[in-house]
């Protein structure tokens, strides 16, 4: 079985029903998708399958044979961060970081599909992603900033714009 992961074709030997998550992490050593709840409830394992966000823990690898898989490793490099990675850094949108790669992949799909800076639309696109640090406000700030076309100076950090909405997204 073959998969293309971040542009590189990989041969896979895992059993056909193995969740894509474990194929990526354990067999291919692509470890940005996190094994959180492993039952579709947290969003931390989200990757793009042919450009669409998918829970890799819920996806049998046989169902994505031949597909293009994109993880956060495929978005940018440490020397050249992708806009969302810059925005998450600039807005302090990563706290412990566990949910961050899933959030970024879902946000990337949202933006790729023409998503706007509208906060409610961003919340709806990220509704299935849980941040146990409850840092939702800054995450929505970061996605909104990229949708707006902001550029980021990573030598300074943004002030929190909105300290009243402490409840964050649902």
């Amino acid at each position: 079985m073959k998969l293309t992961v971040n542009g590189i074709e990989r041969e896979v030997e895992s059993a056909p029903l193995t969740p894509l998550l474990f194929v990526l992490r354990d067999e291919l050593e692509v470890e940005s998708p996190k094994a959180g709840c492993q039952q579709g409830g947290c969003g931390a394992c989200t990757v793009l399958v042919d450009g669409e966000p998918r829970r890799s823990c819920l996806t049998p690898v046989a169902a994505v044979e031949g597909a293009q898989i994109t993880t956060v490793e495929g978005l940018g490099s440490p020397e050249s961060l992708a806009p969302l990675q810059q925005a998450f850094t600039h807005h302090y949108a990563a706290q412990c970081g566990f949910c961050t790669t899933g959030m970024i992949m879902a946000a990337q799909a949202y933006l790729d599909h023409g998503g706007t800076e509208d906060r409610e639309a961003i919340q709806s696109a990220l509704a299935g992603h849980v941040c146990r640090c409850t840092g939702y406000v800054k995450i929505v700030d970061a996605v909104s900033a990229v949708a707006r076309g902001d550029s980021f100076d990573l030598t300074v950090t943004a002030e929190s714009h909105d300290t009243t909405n402490v409840g964050g997204t649902k």
């Binding site: 059993a15 029903l17 579709g40 409830g41 966000p53 829970r55 819920l58 169902a63 509704a127 299935g128």
Partner: protein
Amino acid sequence: MSAAPEVLLPSSADEAVSLFGDGADVTVVGGGTIVLPELTYGRLKPTRALLLHRAGLAGISRNGSTVTVGATTSILDLSRERAPVGPCAANIADLEIRSQGTLAGNICAGEGPDAPRGDLQGPLLALGATVRSAGQGGTTTEPLEEFLPKRRSRLLLDVSFEEPAAGAFAALGRPHTHDYTALAVSAVRAADGSIRLAATGVGWWGTRLPSAEAAAGDPEAAGTAALADVTLHDDALASAWYRERTLPVLVRRALAQLEESA
């Protein structure tokens, strides 16, 4: 996962039917959203797994006023349909799950470990949908109501219904996008003017509300009458006490929506 199951990957509907056979020892995998966690946590050890993603069973087709929805059509695709199907599908889980979960998985899942599932049973019961399925005795078509008790032993192929004159969907809010809906009511005005109502969350699977339908001209009376059609229970989502108080409200809301769309 210990002993690896035999994995069946049909590339056509006919091949899927043939591999399913009489369904003995076959675990059907649609989108995987329900089966995969069962495998990961070792609660399910299939002998044979039938993966449907290449079987050509996805898609919504229209022939005159008849709508036919293939088994592996995604919940997301259904969320773009008219009420009651569209709003019900849009109210299921989150974007990623809706993209991956399928019609057949949702209908056939039925009860979960601690709460009802099968959100789409309600809208499709209200629409008077029929199910085409394969298994012992060959391929049959029957009303969804008759299919539901057999859903674990047959391979659902597609679901058909007549486009209604109007449709409505009213549900209790969910605390979080990943929670199942505790109670929902679907209403349909058919092309002949008759009104059909169905609920999910009042039993272990979707239920038509014939007493409420008979009283549909008076939404207040219909709401109260609906209580005669159901056996309420406590589960992890809500108590029978709460459901008894909210079912009449949802019936009234669904009928009011139907009225507005007239």
